[in-house]
Each structure stands twice: as structure tokens, then as C-alpha cells.
Amino acid sequence: MIRRLPHVDRVGIEERATQLGKRSIKTTAKQQGIRLAVSMVDLTTLEGADTPGKVRHLCAKGVCPAPTMPEIPSVAAICVYPSLVATAKEALNGTGVKTASVATGFPAGQVSLEAKLRDTEDAVAAGADEIDMVISREAFLAGDDARVQQEIVAVKEHCGDAHLKVILETAELGSYDHVRHASMLAMEAGADFIKTSTGKASAGATPGVCLVMLEAIRDYADRTGRIVGFKAAGGVSTSKAALHRLVLVKETLGDEWLTADRIRIGASSVLNDLLMQYAKTQNGRYGRSEDFSKE
């Protein structure tokens, strides 16, 4: 397979992404935007110290983020390691909140394909609705696009009914051209979502990276008619950052994309900032971090 890299101009893409960060989101737009952002959150815990107890707390938080503000919707999903999927699934039963699991040797992906598939199977068997896989950066950076795609295809086959989010780990790809190319590879291999980062690398869902991936999604949808979702993960820790990502979606893909089945925000700390900013629109002051439970 001959690799033909697309052209993305770094200066141009960053200028446009920055410019869209200057949209003024006030009053009703801010309230609605925050509610929308909450409904798209994949509330995540990915630590060695995660326990069933912690995951149950997080699930309760995700189902009802702010008991004092009933108009705040549930988050979209709870994202955990495969070993905790069963716990999460049970805690979320009947709530409409999905159970998502990382898999395929997350976050580095430096294990054999067999191990990746086994990892996926385990998570699906435990009840995961959504699988977040990592691409093999090792293969991508070595120029082996075919292997990157074959792995995605194989994981997709093992997902069954579960939705597949493909993590590109953009900070390790080295250029916007690579981000765009990897986005196309993942979509052509069958990804249901493409996702920026694991949250474990040096940078995550920067505005420029998000915009490149959203443009790739738009062009792929225009060409094939298939709709692929987008998940921004890593570094989206404030309401302002979350709303900026939604502006990028709105002005690149359009209003019909602003739903949780097409757009996700992977994060842990952003949820409480969204709640505090929402409270501020109601009572005029930015509260204390203790106003809302951490999990």
C-alpha cells in the first residue's frame, strides 16, 4: 500500500481553531451548552488504584451529577478498565448510561494482537457497551498502515454489538498530516468513533487536533454517507474548553452533530467545573470545589 499523506497547514488550522475559541457563549447559550456537554461526558477513571467501590461511586455521580439541579442530565457513559466493567454495568443497570471500557493493551498498545483481542473479548463479555481501543502507533509510525487497519478490523469483529472508539493518541503521531491520515485509516477500517487521546500522553484534545479530526469526519461522511462519531479526550478540564470543542463541532459538522451519540468528551475533572459554571449562571457566583461531590 502506498502511503499518500494529506496536507494540513499547521498555521492555518490552529488559527481557525483559536478563532472559534472566541465565540461568545453567554446566558441561555451557556446553560444549554453546559447541559449538552454534560450529556456527552464519558466520565472516566483509569488508575491502577481503581476498586469496585470507587467505580460504584463514579457511576452514581454519572447518573445524577448534581442532585440539587435536576435539569442537569446524566453523563453519556462511565469509562473503566476491563476488570471493572462488570461492576460498572451492574451499577448502571437501567439508567441509560453506557458502560465503556478501554481495551487492547491500553494505553501503549504494545502487546500482541492476540492479547488485544482477548482484552476486547473480556470487556465485551463483562457487558461493555463501548470499547475504546488504541491504534498501534508502533505500526503507524513505521509506515505500516495495513497493520494499523487490520488490527482495527480484527478488534471490531470481536466487539460484537459494542461500539468501537478508536484512539489515535495524537500527541504521539507528530503532525497534523499524520492525525488526518490516521483518522481516515480508522474510519475506513470501521471505527464507530475516533478519539484523540488516552489521556496518558503529553497532550490531548488540543483545539487544532480536534478540528483536523472533525474535518476528516465531515469529509468521510460526505464521501461515504457513513457517520462516525468524535471523542475529545485529554486536557479538556474546564467548561470553557468543553464549550470550545462544541463550537468546533457546530461550525465544522453542523447542529445535527451536537448529540451524545455522535460526540463525546472523555474526562474526569471537567464534570464538576461544568456544574459549577452552570450554578454560576443561576446564582451569579462561581462556588467552591466542595459544592459538588468529587465522585
Partner: protein, 486 residues
């Protein structure tokens, strides 16, 4: 996708108008002569209106022939002292003006938008910061004139008359005043008839900066005021930015005199998209090239040249992108396209667009809500344009782009240069060698690579052919305001 939608939250931006409460405009502004505002000799005042609402903002003095004579007298008197100041002292005044522009930037941005119709986003992020940057830049040159020109001894010209257009009122005033003053000249500035207010606020800033009386004179009025200034025998130089037609009149009026002249006139600039360009960024650049400031930009990329192999893709993406432009209240921080500057300009745009349709080009205009009052023209795209069509040749000075195609690099250069104008050009390619080769072959004063409508005080700006002569910006911008003694 089978993930069910649990929430359907509609999300649109709420109106986000910048407040004008902090603006304290006077009811009427006199002429700024001898360091103070004074009534015009014949007492005539005319209102200046907000083109987005057609509401009057303030009354502005109409400078007549007697006022021009008085202004020139005052400037002549002020010149020797100003020219004799140590260069560092002149620089201090310019630094002071630059800082005051920054301090009053919010007010200036709002007034620029109210008076001219441009989106606040642009006056706030482009016009006002760049105006301050020009004063800062030329303040730094004041004591380094010999190094900027390569001469051993230079002298100021004396009294310079400067006539600026309505598309970037304060910024063009800064482009003109900053180098003139840095070089030791005194200036008489004639702002455009439809947009005098920020120049008058700049007059207040000159007072605040304690600039000596007569160093800067602001003479408001219409074309006749400008004509009287041009024909004043006691002026050493005229610097004009505006239409080619008026530029021609000025040049013939000055023929055979020793009044120096620089002209920055119209354009029909080519924006060339090659097949190896980063397409999405090129589309962004096309939008910025022609819809920035409603296309009221002399260097606007109004002739879009697309390589045939990517024509359909680029046009489709451009059309999609145009659909997301937000036209409306210029004071709203989320507005991308504001009001057309005047009824007269709107009529000119409509006439040329009608000519384009008559000549057989295909017109597409985005559908959007047009406010009931004020002057508006929705962003428009013409395809199937031939190089001979009026819309491919004449400057429209509005949000209208004409698309032409080319097959090879040589043809792109040939078509781009096939114009009476030569102000600017854009090149979109990912290949550096091609960009340099094409840039070198283009007869245009400014060539942008993979960007468009970017301005910087360090870069020279000016035209080839009927786009004028003389350069503004950077060290090259000192030359037109100096006499080289040796």
C-alpha cells in the same frame, strides 16, 4: 448508530452584543486644527450614520476651502519646531499615542464598528491592535531614519496631506500618520466622509498625548475637502488611499507641480489554489480573503483561481463553509459579516453582481436573515466566470468572489497577472519551491503564501500597475516621507 439519544438539547449562540454604554460621543465634532476642535468657517455640519441601523451617531464638521487654507497655515507654522525636535522626543510622542490607543482600544473598536459597520470581532482583534502596532513600530524608527533608508542624511518633506478611505478608518490613519510624524513631517489627515469618528477620537488622543498644536490636523468633509487639500499649493506631499478613479484625478491635478505623491488604489487580487494545497485551510483563506470586512478590502482575494483538478472539491467546501458565516448586527461578538458601509457602496455591489448574472456567470448567495434596516449584502459566489466578464475584471469591493480555473502553473501566473491591477495575491500550495517560484513571477505588491489578508507593521504594502505606487509599512514606508539629501 444504535446508541439512543437521551437528550435533545438545542444549542445556538445567544445574542452577545458588545455594550456601547461606555461610549461618550459628543453631539458634534469640529475640525481639529491647531490642537483644538473648532467650528468650520461656514458653520456646516453633517451627520454621520451607523450603516447597520441608518441612525445618526454624531454631527461632523464639513471642511470648506477656507478651512483648508487655515489648516495648511497652522501646519506650516508647526513644522519647523516639530522637525527640529530631537528624534527621540518625536518618538516619545508616538509611543504615547500608541499606548493611548491601547488604553482606549475598547472604545475605539466599538466606535469603529458603529460608524463603519464592520464586525466588532474584526475592529477589536484586527483594526485597533494593528493601529497601535503601527505607531509603536514607527516610534522605533524615528531616531534610525538613516538606517531605514541607507542614506547618510535625510530631511522631512514638510507638510503632508493624507486622504484615507472608509474601509479601515483608524488603521489607515495610523498607516499614514505614524511614518509621516516619525520622519519629522506634520500631517493634515482627511478621513472618509462616512467614517470620520475614530479619526476624531484620535484627535482627542493627540491632545491627551500633548502633541504640539498643528502637528496633526484632522480635516473632516467630503471629496471636495480632499480636492481642496490636493490643490493647495503649500503642501509638500499627498498620500492617498482609495479608488483608482480618484487616484487618477489627484495625479493629474498634481502633474507639473513639485508636490510629491503616493497612491494606494484598487485591486482585483488573485487568490491561487493549487491542487496540492491543504484544502480546508485554503477554503478558510478564501473566506478570509474575500469576506473579511464584507470584502471592503483593497487587497481582497476577489479573483479566485482554482486548479481544475480540484475545482469541484474546493467550490463545494467553500460553499459549505460560506453557509456557516453569521451575518448580522456588527456589534454582536459572534458576527462574521457586518453591514455594507454605505447606500452608495451597496448600489455599486448590486450593479456589478447584476452585470455578472447578465453576462452568464452562475450566482450563488447564501440564504440568511437580513436585518430590516441598514445596508446589507449576503456573501456571494460566482462560478462559470470568464476572464472577460466584468466581475472578473472590475473591483467590486464587496462580499463577492469570482471563481476562475487554470490547468498549469504557467497558466495560473499568466491569468493572475492578466489584470490592470497588481496589489496582492495569495498562493495555496504545500510545496515550498512552487510557492517561491510563483511568488517571484507575480506582479503584485504583496504575495501571501498559505494565508491571506494578514497585515504587519514591519511588512511593506503597496501596488503594481493601476494599484498605485509607494510603499507603506516597515522601513520601505519611511522613504515616501523623506528627502534624501545625500
Amino acid at each position: 448508530m444504535s446508541i439512543e439519544t437521551r437528550t435533545s438539547i438545542v444549542w445556538d449562540y445567544s445574542p452577545a452584543p458588545e455594550s456601547a454604554d461606555h461610549i461618550r460621543l459628543k453631539d458634534r465634532y469640529g475640525l481639529f486644527v491647531d490642537g483644538e476642535f473648532r467650528d468650520p468657517a461656514d458653520g456646516r455640519y453633517v451627520p454621520t450614520i451607523n450603516p447597520a441601523t441608518e441612525e445618526p451617531l454624531a454631527e461632523v464638521a464639513y471642511g470648506g476651502p477656507d478651512d483648508v487654507i487655515a489648516a495648511v497655515e497652522s501646519a506650516r507654522t508647526a513644522h519647523p519646531k516639530w522637525a527640529a525636535l530631537p528624534a527621540l522626543e518625536r518618538a516619545k510622542y508616538l509611543f504615547r499615542i500608541a499606548r493611548l490607543i491601547q488604553e482606549r482600544s475598547r472604545e475605539l473598536a466599538v466606535v469603529e464598528t458603529l460608524d463603519g459597520g464592520k464586525p466588532l470581532r474584526e475592529s477589536r482583534d484586527v483594526d485597533i491592535p494593528l493601529a497601535a502596532a503601527h505607531f509603536f513600530h514607527y516610534a522605533g524608527w524615528a531616531d534610525k531614519l538613516r538606517y531605514g533608508t541607507g542614506a547618510r542624511e535625510v530631511e522631512p518633506l514638510g507638510v503632508v496631506g493624507q486622504i484615507v478611505p472608509w474601509n479601515f478608518p483608524l488603521l489607515m490613519a495610523a498607516w499614514k500618520l505614524a511614518p509621516a510624524l516619525a520622519c519629522g513631517n506634520v500631517a493634515i489627515l482627511k478621513p472618509a466622509e462616512t467614517t470620520p469618528l475614530t479619526a476624531l477620537l484620535l484627535a482627542e488622543i493627540c491632545q491627551e498625548a500633548e502633541l504640539p498644536p498643528g502637528v496633526v490636523t484632522i480635516l473632516t468633509g467630503n471629496g471636495d475637502t480632499g480636492a481642496a487639500l490636493v490643490r493647495s499649493k503649500k503642501i509638500n506631499k499627498i498620500a492617498f488611499t482609495g479608488s483608482t478613479a480618484v487616484g487618477r484625478e489627484i495625479q493629474s491635478a498634481l502633474a507639473g507641480t513639485d508636490t510629491k505623491l503616493t497612491l494606494e488604489l484598487g485591486g482585483k487580487s488573485a487568490n491561487i489554489v493549487f491542487e496540492d494545497a491543504a484544502v480546508d485551510q485554503a477554503v478558510e483563506g478564501i473566506v478570509n480573503g474575500i469576506f473579511f470586512n464584507q470584502g471592503h478590502v483593497c487587497c481582497a482575494g476577489s479573483r479566485l483561481l482554482i486548479q481544475e483538478s480540484v475545482r469541484d472539491e474546493v467550490i463545494e467546501k467553500l460553499w459549505q463553509r460560506m453557509g456557516r458565516l453569521r451575518l448580522g448586527d456588527p456589534m454582536d461578538k459572534n458576527t462574521d459579516v457586518g453591514a455594507i458601509n454605505s447606500a452608495e457602496q451597496l448600489e455599486r455591489i448590486e450593479t456589478l453582481v447584476a452585470a455578472g448574472e447578465d453576462e452568464g456567470a452562475t450566482r450563488r448567495t447564501i440564504s440568511c436573515d437580513i436585518p430590516e434596516r441598514g445596508y446589507w449584502f449576503a456573501p456571494t459566489l460566482f462560478t462559470d466566470v470568464s476572464p472577460a466578464h466584468r466581475i472578473a475584471v472590475e473591483e467590486i469591493f464587496g462580499p463577492v468572489v469570482s471563481v476562475l480555473t487554470f490547468r498549469t502553473q504557467a497558466e495560473a501566473i499568466e491569468k493572475a497577472n492578466n489584470s490592470r491591477y497588481g496589489l496582492a495575491a495569495g498562493i495555496w500550495t504545500d510545496k515550498g519551491s512552487k510557492a517561491f517560484e510563483v511568488a517571484g513571477a507575480l506582479k503584485a505588491g504583496v504575495v501571501w503564501q498559505n494565508t491571506y489578508n494578514h497585515f504587519d507593521p514591519t511588512a511593506a504594502f503597496g501596488g503594481y500597475k493601476e494599484s498605485g505606487f509607494g510603499r507603506e509599512g516597515g522601513p520601505a514606508g519611511l522613504r515616501p516621507y523623506l528627502k534624501i539629501v545625500r
